[in-house]
């Protein structure tokens, strides 16, 4: 088959990538049983090249190929018809390059939402529409939700996003220097996940070897981010059930984690911690002890609170069987990250793609798969406990590398004509950055895929046949990113 085989964070010569037809791409993906993690265009003089990146989670390999569209070719037969998970990728490709996937079942805008948007509409007696947003009741990012309801019951939810579009992919190209501060700001609730993906991409392209110490500190930060956000989300779920004690206690417990992050890096969210070349702050013995003590306290409180909550019938009955996404649906629509794991789709970049710092740790994969709000709540709880174990083990490992530098001076020139795929499992799921350089070693394409790009559709599926009043709870249980989707 005509695909280049590579691994996470391993650069390849972009000129080696074969050119095949979209029909070959379709049949290969179906045959290989892989999952598409990248599907995007790049202008090549008058032509448009479509890159397709497929991941095989079982063996930890990536497959890359491309297809070329000359200016006369303005369409192709949509792949979504047989591979539903591609629906959003094809919409994005169409929006950016104007090449139409024929017979796409749902060819609507992804980010260009300012013209009339063709909402799905139901007709009939008793049917009514509920429109929510872009500005929501709380302090959150904007997006528009359109519900088709009969009475209290939601038949269909359509989600229109794009309000947060800042053109970040182009901004990466404009910068001639490394710009970790921009990487941190693409999606400000996943600072470490994004900055790590960006830094690893740049390090691969510039042949910069960073110290083991820096690699460990990055992963400690990544897990602390996961712990903090998961705790905050459990609080938010409690808040949406009007179980305010849960909201309060999880809220203040999260503070402990992010304040420790502040002590490490000077920022509660770890901004300024990671740069291309390593990290800017060390974790010494004293700090390491502090982190462990903090995590012990956090574990205790999270345990107690979760136990009380899961014994409270009013909480359980509100979460169980609410917002179900079953395994089959999750697979079909290509859900990723913790949302997918809550529905029994066991994918996790940390463990599937041979990250030696994770595979060398013998921690069990958490698993709980009823696909409802309860499952997403419980999965978070399990992941918090797992991440606490991981951080402790990584801290112990850190001692072996005490004398290493935290940062090396990175090479400033990037390898010309190269492509790298950099994937990091952030708390929400896989953050995928793809960087391509031109013949002069400048970035010519920077592509980002946030886990939310796949998962927004899972939320739409989750609320079907639920009461409209369950929507906030379902929404919180996913906590998807508007910025990550809109870029």
């Amino acid at each position: 088959m005509n695909w280049v085989i590579t691994e996470n964070n391993k650069k390849i010569n972009a000129l080696d990538i074969p050119t095949i037809s979209t029909e070959e791409i379709r049949s290969d993906i179906e045959k290989m049983k892989t999952r598409v993690v990248g599907f995007f265009g790049k202008q090549e003089f008058d032509n448009v090249r479509l890159y397709v990146i497929a991941a095989d989670d079982k063996v930890g390999k990536l497959y890359i190929t491309s297809s070329l569209f000359t200016p006369e070719v303005k369409s192709y037969e949509s792949l979504t018809q047989t591979i539903p998970a591609l629906h959003i990728f094809e919409r994005e490709f169409y929006e950016e390059f104007g090449i139409e996937p024929l017979n796409h079942p749902w060819l609507k805008p992804v980010r260009n939402n300012q013209d009339a948007y063709p909402f799905f509409e139901m007709k009939g007696e008793d049917i009514h529409q509920v429109a929510v947003g872009p500005i929501h009741a709380g302090v959150i990012e904007p997006g528009h939700f359109r519900f088709m309801c009969q009475g209290e019951k939601v038949y269909d939810l359509e989600i229109m996003l794009g309000y947060q579009h800042r053109g970040v992919e182009e901004l990466f190209l404009k910068n001639k220097k490394y710009n970790n501060r921009l990487a941190e700001s693409v999606c400000g609730d996943m600072v470490i996940g994004y900055n790590m993906a960006y830094s690893q991409a740049m390090e691969a392209l510039s042949d910069t070897q960073i110290s083991s110490k820096a690699q460990i500190i990055r992963r400690i930060a990544l897990e602390m981010e996961r712990i903090a956000i998961h705790i905050g989300d459990m609080g938010a779920i409690a808040g949406d059930m009007a179980y305010l004690m849960g909201a309060s206690i999880f809220g203040i417990t999260r503070t402990l984690v992010i304040n420790t992050m502040l002590e490490i890096s000077g920022s509660r969210f770890g901004r300024g911690l990671i740069d291309v070349g390593g990290v800017n702050f060390d974790i010494d013995k004293k700090m390491s002890e502090k982190i462990i003590n903090m995590l012990n306290d956090v574990a205790k409180t999270v345990d107690r609170t979760t136990n009380v909550m899961l014994k409270t019938p009013s909480c359980i009955s509100r979460m169980e069987r609410t917002g179900v996404v079953n395994q089959e649906t999750a697979k079909a629509i290509g859900a990723v990250g913790m949302a997918a794991r809550s529905s029994g789709v066991d994918i996790d970049i940390r463990f599937d793609f041979n990250d030696k710092w994770y595979t060398s740790l013998d921690v069990v994969k958490p698993f709980r798969a009823t696909g409802d709000v309860h499952s997403r709540f419980k999965l978070r709880y399990k992941e918090i406990k797992q991440s606490i174990q991981i951080v402790k083990k990584l801290l112990a490992k850190l001692e072996e590398y005490e004398n290493e530098p935290v940062k090396v001076t990175p090479n400033t020139s990037l390898t010309p004509n190269s492509l790298v795929v950099s994937m990091t499992e952030g708390w929400r799921g896989e953050v995928i950055h793809v960087a391509i350089t031109g013949s002069d070693g400048q970035l010519v394409r920077y592509k980002i895929k946030d886990p939310s790009f796949n998962n927004w559709y899972a939320l739409a599926m989750a609320v079907r046949n639920n009461g409209v009043s369950d929507f906030p709870l379902c929404n919180k249980s996913f906590n998807l990113s508007y910025c990550g989707n809109d870029l």
């Binding site: 990012e141 309000y163 182009e170 404009k174 999606c187 809220g251 000077g266 969210f269 508007y482 910025c483």
Partner: protein, 247 residues
């Protein structure tokens, strides 16, 4: 079960910060920058991701600064001083030898009627206009049990119709420009506008994006600028308190 619940509550003890206006801040926090002449180091403007840093004469514009620490050197040191807000955009530019005291004295000059009308109660509608969720999470934290902003009568409310003003985060994308203005118009007079975070104040790391539309900010008066990336809850609460409370 009830005893478990009561125990759980008891176990938490008191969590709020008693004196918000003098709350201690961890020393590692990057806050107010101290700038001084230094013959050893050549200040390199190009390390700054937002153009906040100017070398000659040395200055940092807190309206653009993300407090990232890229520029840290002998000439530029960051204190943990967190009261960074100002009613005047120009005053956010920190120059050589300026101390936090110098800054604080002049930074917040609110009109009398603002203190008269809002000192006991200020309800705010927050609009995220392409904010990255960093500032939004910190604004949410203002209302948690640690910071408990509600005790001062300052709250975020759901409807602009019942708000006294807007808090804007994010660089204002083209796609949010209409909704932002709509929300402003739905808020009854008299109203205030607060910009929170480097993005809202100057575009921050997104200032060179072609997808922004910041006309709104030129069209309507801005009452308070609260720097940070993201804004720290203590910076936000103290900024608003200094703005509304009677001196």
């Amino acid at each position: 079960m009830l005893t478990d619940t009561i125990k759980l509550k008891y176990f938490q003890g008191k969590q709020y910060i008693p004196d918000i206006q003098n709350a201690p801040m961890r020393s590692q926090f990057r806050g107010f920058p101290l700038l001084k002449k230094c013959d050893e180091c050549l200040v390199d403007e190009s390390v700054c991701p937002t153009g906040a840093l100017k070398a000659d004469p040395l200055s940092i514009d807190l309206g653009k600064c993300t407090l990232c620490g890229n520029c840290k050197c002998d000439a530029i040191q960051f204190t943990n001083y967190y009261k960074l807000s100002s009613t005047d955009r120009e005053r956010l530019v920190i120059t050589e030898n300026m101390t936090p005291d110098d800054f604080e004295k002049a930074a917040i000059q609110a009109r009398k009627e603002i203190r008269r009308v809002f000192s006991k109660s200020l309800k705010l509608r927050q609009v995220s206009a392409a904010g990255c969720n960093g500032c939004e999470m910190e604004l949410n934290a203002c209302s948690n049990c640690n910071f408990d902003m509600g005790r001062f009568g300052i709250d975020f409310v759901a409807s602009p119709r019942h708000a006294d003003g807007l808090v804007i985060t994010g660089p204002v994308s083209e796609n949010m420009a209409y909704a932002l203005e709509d929300c402003y118009k739905s808020t009854p007079n008299p109203k205030i506008v607060i910009l929170a975070g480097a993005c809202a104040i100057s575009g921050g790391v997104f200032q060179n994006s072609t997808k922004l539309n910041r006309e709104f900010l030129d069209k309507y008066p801005i009452d308070l600028y609260i720097p940070g990336c993201p804004v720290h809850p203590l910076t936000f609460i103290n900024g608003v308190l200094d703005f509304i409370s009677k001196k």
